[in-house]
Every structure is written in structure tokens, then in C-alpha cells.
Symmetry: C2
Subunit: 421 residues, 2 copies
């Protein structure tokens, strides 16, 4: 009958989830985390190689890509909610010093180091700073997923990563706001007072959201559980809370939506065992068998590695090296100053390498504001993708001999354990 | 940061799933099926009352509505997959005679009876036939969900409904093809041979899909289960199968996508206990706590009851009465002829009343083909909505004293039982 876009979405999702499953299993069989294979599946299906969405059977690639992107965003929201469920706030606060020092150094160092790399390629210092701001970002989702798979999310390093990523999120958003306000095309836009207000608003939101999540959500859910008999209701209410906290994080607080979802998860980790089980038993399949693979594949779907100018390759290589080294050194040194051992500092630094969707969002923002030209955007994009793809194997490498890590050999995996009831 | 459409989707989904939960619970507390409340929540949130998607906070209602509609379609796809998991093919074939007789009479009677209702309102016989074709449709999803909630899906009536709905789906599509070919604006389009080909193609597809689902899928999944260790993989593969069968049903077979998903579920109901549990434990939360409520709410989101012309109200009322009576009588009499008792025939007839999304699709198709004018589309739309909303309470009524029905009083419900492991 009618046919059209909906069944085309079914086909595209079938192929995307299928490719993610196959590539994930292939990655596992060579000892790598599944997420590494899922990211590569995206590059394979994307414009770089197969260009899935532009096949003749899909008559509206833009609309289809839009829907897939929104499913991907739902995926990363629920993923960070699931990560939050595994973490307790006191743990997070116990690494506050590490988070602030590591988050700051890990954002400032890549920014500063990008300037002498980009400027010699014929760009102004301002433009070099814009690239630096992109490099200051960190995407927590890919490392969090990898640590979950390896069974080491609730270690000192795992909690350090989560706390440091929140600090980095705040800093990266502040840096973007500052450069747009001071160096952007509409420089009359913002004053020091306005920048201060952005910061104060973030802090107010985070404090408010944490208080509501910590004190109100567990009581609310206990009350709802007494009132409703339908088994799937607790899960539905958890999704509703994650969606509304995610929305409010961006709209009220000016922080990333995933930060709001993460806070929701932390709050709900305090409910009763029974409610938490009902929530986990629903959020895991929704995330891991449906939406999260779409998120990882979508990173590659958005990238065209073939369009990059040949003369930009040296810049991309230099920038990649600097992006990796400065993040590891910056975050690692900050963690060391905050009291982590050298080993712990190295591991948490490696976890922070991935720029993922946060880097993509900042780069796209600067592109559409006319502050990054398309030719320069492409190598930056490549570096973001590469930092994202290499993070899971690197994380696996530094956690190789970790005492409590589960060896991810071919038999049953850590992610299984984590994903089982 | 960036903000925009994605967080607006989060907000809209949070409100939609939230309204569905509250209305579902309210419906339960007055002894009605949850799905009844969820349908009313959609009317409440839709253009008839609150007009959610056009609130000032949403800056692109069309795009947002499009994404929500696609999530809704995913919801009904997975819902019918879940229904298929509960049914065995031999059961379905055992009511083949009932399905063919009831499906045919239940499609022809509403069509014929609509003509003397619509024509006196100043419309041509052709136009009246177009309205009749819309009325010949049946949406199985709402009744299937209601029977699942009441714990009576796997009864003679429940299986009869599912088989009859497949027959009705085939007939309704054939009728639409015939009227478009013979009475539509491009009458040169189709010959008898082409119509025959549409029918043959459907039959070939259904036979092929059933064979693949029945013989190949269980073996394939057993093989996949031996090869993959990741717990969520079986669920992911089940979703992939449902998506690809759904796509192929429309594109290869010309039947509804949900028929393909239903066949997938029937095939996978034959796998091992362990695999089926893994699939059910994933598909239930994805469907019932996330996507299916979006589907039910979306029916109301698409409907504006206030735009209907005052002079069309008598037509709508007459058409509603005829639509309900002819479906119950047609399907019921067919079932009786096929060997059901009078009680069974009445119950299965009532289950067939809902026109739901199938009626909407046909009506929209005829509207966009210029065969239904907007003024006439609106009362037809209202009748579709009303047949859909009244079906769950009517089904509940006729199953009231059913021996194996679980009384859906305020304590733990049948849907709980069905939804629990």
C-alpha cells in the first residue's frame, strides 16, 4: 500500500542495526570492544564507502537521515541514562578535584596546542583558536560504553572519567560561548556579564537538577510504584524522566542533554532494588539492541572521508597527533595533580581522547556561524572521527592488565554480564 | 548548546509518553483497557484540544510530527511482531474458513451499506463507493492489544481476529486498487490482468514469507545464538527480521508492513524457549514502555475534531452507526457460517470494528488522489477515530463474562501478566 518513507526507514534501520551487530561481533572476535566495530560499520555504510542513504530505493535521503539522527540522539540519551544508573553521586564527588583539574587542563591544552599547528597552514590565529575549541571537547559516551563492556566502569578511573567529562562539557560550552562572543561575526553579542551569566546558569541548573534527581526522583518513583500495577510503567516513567531532564539540561541549563540524562540515572540508582531492576530490564534492550547501535553507526553515516582535500592530509595528521597527545597529557596530568596514581592518570587520560558527537556539534556550530570554512571543516571532521574510532582499542589496551578487568576474549563477554539481569 | 529539534523531540516524547501513562492508568482505574486511555490522551494532546506540537516551544511542528509518526509506525510494527510471537501458524490456519468468510463479508457489507448513506448528502455513487472502501478496512492492532491486556488473545476469538484481519487487509488493498484503477482520475491505469497480478503477487509474497519465517528463521536464530555471546544480540536480530519483513511486505508483496512483522513473530515463536525469552524480554519494553504508547497517542495527534463542518455531523453519525453495525454483522455472520458459535461470532465481530491506521491510510490515499474532497474527508476521519476509540471498551464488554478472561479490576492486570517474563 502507500509505502513511502516509513517502510524505507524500516529497511534502513534493518540494515544499520544488522551491520552494527555483524561488525560488533567481528570486533569481539579479534578481541576489540563491540563499539569499535559499530563505529567502523558506520564509516562503511556512510558516504565514504557504500553511501547507504543515497541508494535509489530511498527517495528522500535528507528526511531519512534526519529521522536516523534523531533515533541516534535518543540512543545516546538513553545510553548516558543507563551509565548514570551504574554510578553513585558520592563516588562522583569524591573525584571532584581530579575532575576539575583534569577537565580544565584537558580542555586548555588541546586548544592552545592547536594554534601553532593550524596557523602555519595559512589561517589566522582566530581561525586556529576556533579549531582549538573543537579539540577541547570530549565525548564521554564512547569510552563509557567501552568501560561498561570491559566491566571496569565502576572503578576509580571510570568514575574519574565520568566526573571529568562533566567538567569538560561545562568548559567546552563556556569556551564556545566565549569565542563566539568575542571573535565571532557578531562581536557586539556578548559582554563579560553575559558570559558570567552563562556560567552561573549552568551551575544553578546542575545544582538544581542534582537535588531533584537525588531527593525527589526516588521518592516519586516509590510513590508511582505503589500506585501503578502495570509492569512496564516504571520503565516508561524512567524514560520520561530522562527525556525531560535531557530537554531541561539544554534549554534551562545550557549544558548537554546527555548530562541531564546522566543525572537522572544517578538519581534513580537510589530507588529500591525492585524498581531499579524493572528500569534496567527495559532500558538495556531499548538502548543496546535498538537505539545505541544506531547512534554509533550514525557517526560514520555523517562523515565523508573521500571529500577531504589532499593538501589537508598533513594538517589532519598533525592535528590528530596533537589532539590525542594533549588530551592524554592534559587530563592525565590534572588527574595526577588531583591525587590519582600515574597508572590511573594515564588510563583516565586515554578515556578522554574521543571527541565524538560533542566535537561534531561544536564544529558544525562554528561551520554554520561562518567561523570555520568547509575546506578546514573536513580535516577537523576527520580528526574527530579518528579520535572517536581509536578510543575503544586504546582504552582496551591501557586496561589490558587491569586487576578487575574481565578479559574480553571470544567467550562470554563483560558486556553480557553487564547487560544481563 | 545548539539545542534545536532534538531536545524539542525529547520534550514532546516525554509529554506524549507521560500523558499515555497517566491516561492508561486512569482508564484502568475505571475498568477500561489502558489502550482506550492512551487513544483519548492523543485526542487531548492533539489539535482538537491542546494542540501540543504547535506550542511556541516547538519551532518546526511538521518535522517534529514527522519524526513522531515514524516512531509510531515503528511502534505498531513491533507491536504486531510481539502479537505474532504469541500465535502459532497451525492455530491460524485452523480458522482459515472463518477468516475468509468473515473477512470478505466484513469488508463487502460496510462498502455496500455506505453507498445509500453517503449519496443522499449530494455525492455521486462513485464518491460514496470511495467512502465505502475506507469503511471496509480493519485495524487489528488496537483489538490485539486489548485482547492481550484482557489475557484472551490466544482464544478461538483472538486467533480468529488475527486471521480475519489478514484476510481483510488483503481484501481492503484489493478494493482500493480496484476503485483507483476503475473509478480513479487516471482510469487508463489498470486492466483486469494488472488487478489479477496484484492479487497473485500478494499470495506469492504471503506464501514465501510464511515459508521463510516458519522454516528458515528458527534455524537461523539457533545458529546465530551459537555464534554470538552478546545477550542483546538475539533481540537485535529479531528487530532486524521484523524491520526487513515489514519492508518487504509492502515493497515486494504490496501488503501492509505490519503483516510482515506479524509473520516474523509467528516464525520466531518456534525458536527455543531461551531465545524466545531473550527476544520477548527486549521487544516488550521497547514496545510497551516506549514506542506503542507513541503509536496510540499519535492517532489523536493527527486528528482535528474541531474542523469538521457542522452540516457534516449527521452524515458522520449515520456513517458511524453503519460502520459499526455492518462490521459486526458482516464479520460475525461470516464467522458463524465458518463454524463459530453465536457468542464467538459476536465477539470476533466486535474486535473487527476498529478502522485505526489502516482506515487512515486508505482515506489519506484517496484524499491525495483527489477522489475524496477535504469536506467529506473530515467526517470520514471522525468515524475512523470513533470506531478506533470505542473498540477497546466494546471488546471489554463482550468479553466481560468470558470464562478465561482475567477481570481487569484495579489490582494487578492481565497486561501485567502478559508483559511479565
Amino acid at each position: 500500500m502507500e509505502g513511502g518513507s516509513v517502510v524505507q526507514l524500516f529497511l534502513a534501520l534493518g540494515l544499520i542495526i544488522g551491520a552494527a551487530q555483524l561488525a560488533g561481533s567481528a570486533a569481539r572476535s579479534v578481541g576489540q570492544p563491540r563499539v569499535f566495530g559499530e563505529l567502523l560499520a558506520g564509516v562503511f555504510l556512510g558516504p565514504t564507502l557504500l553511501n547507504l542513504l543515497h541508494w535509489g530505493i530511498f527517495d528522500n535521503p535528507e528526511m531519512l537521515g534526519h529521522t536516523i539522527k534523531e533515533l541516534a540522539e535518543l540512543g545516546v540519551l538513553f545510553l548516558m541514562f543507563a551509565v548514570g544508573l551504574e554510578v553513585h553521586l558520592p563516588e562522583l564527588l569524591s573525584v571532584g578535584k581530579v575532575a576539575i583539574l583534569g577537565g580544565t587542563l584537558g580542555a586548555v591544552l588541546p586548544l592552545v596546542a592547536s594554534i601553532p599547528i593550524v596557523a602555519p597552514f595559512g589561517y589566522s590565529v582566530e581561525t586556529a583558536i576556533f579549531v582549538g575549541v573543537v579539540m577541547s571537547a570530549t565525548s564521554v559516551s564512547i569510552s563509557a560504553q567501552t568501560l561498561l563492556e570491559l566491566g571496569v566502569l565502576r572503578t576509580k578511573e571510570g568514575v574519574g572519567l565520568l566526573a571529568m567529562a562533566v567538567a569538560d562539557d561545562i568548559l567546552a560550552i563556556l569556551l564556545v560561548s566565549i569565542v563566539i562572543a568575542t571573535l565571532g561575526p557578531n562581536t557586539e553579542a556578548a559582554s563579560v556579564g553575559e558570559l558570567l551569566w552563562i556560567f552561573v546558569r549552568m551551575m544553578l541548573y546542575l545544582a538544581g537538577a542534582l537535588l531533584v534527581a537525588w531527593f525527589v526522583l526516588p521518592r516519586l518513583f516509590a510513590w508511582l510504584h505503589r500506585r501503578t500495577q502495570f509492569t512496564q510503567s516504571m520503565a516508561a516513567f524512567a524514560l520520561i524522566a530522562a527525556l525531560l531532564f535531557g530537554w531541561s539540561a539544554e534549554v534551562l541549563g545550557g549544558v548537554a542533554a546527555i548530562t541531564g540524562a546522566f543525572i537522572t540515572g544517578m538519581g534513580l540508582s537510589r530507588t529500591t532494588e525492585r524498581i531499579r531492576h524493572q528500569i534496567e530490564n527495559a532500558v538495556r534492550p531499548i538502548s543496546y539492541s535498538f537505539l545505541v547501535p544506531i547512534f554509533f553507526v550514525n557517526v560514520g553515516l555523517q562523515t565523508d572521508l573521500t571529500s577531504i582535500g589532499g593538501d589537508m592530509i598533513p594538517l589532519a595528521i598533525l592535528l590528530l597527533v596533537v589532539a590525542v597527545v594533549t588530551k592524554v597529557v592534559g587530563c592525565g596530568f590534572g588527574a595526577r595533580l588531583g591525587g590519582f596514581t600515574s597508572g590511573e592518570s594515564l588510563r583516565v587520560g586515554v578515556c578522554m581522547i574521543s571527541r565524538g558527537e560533542v566535537g561534531l556539534i561544536i564544529a558544525s556550530l562554528l561551520l554554520s556561524a561562518g567561523m570555520l570554512e568547509q575546506r578546514l571543516f573536513e580535516p577537523v571532521f576527520l580528526v574527530i572521527l579518528l579520535t572517536t574510532v581509536i578510543t575503544p582499542p586504546l582504552v582496551r589496551l591501557v586496561f589490558r592488565n587491569y586487576p578487575t578487568a574481565i578479559d574480553p576474549g571470544p567467550p562470554r563477554t563483560a558486556r553480557d554480564t553487564a547487560a544481563e539481569v
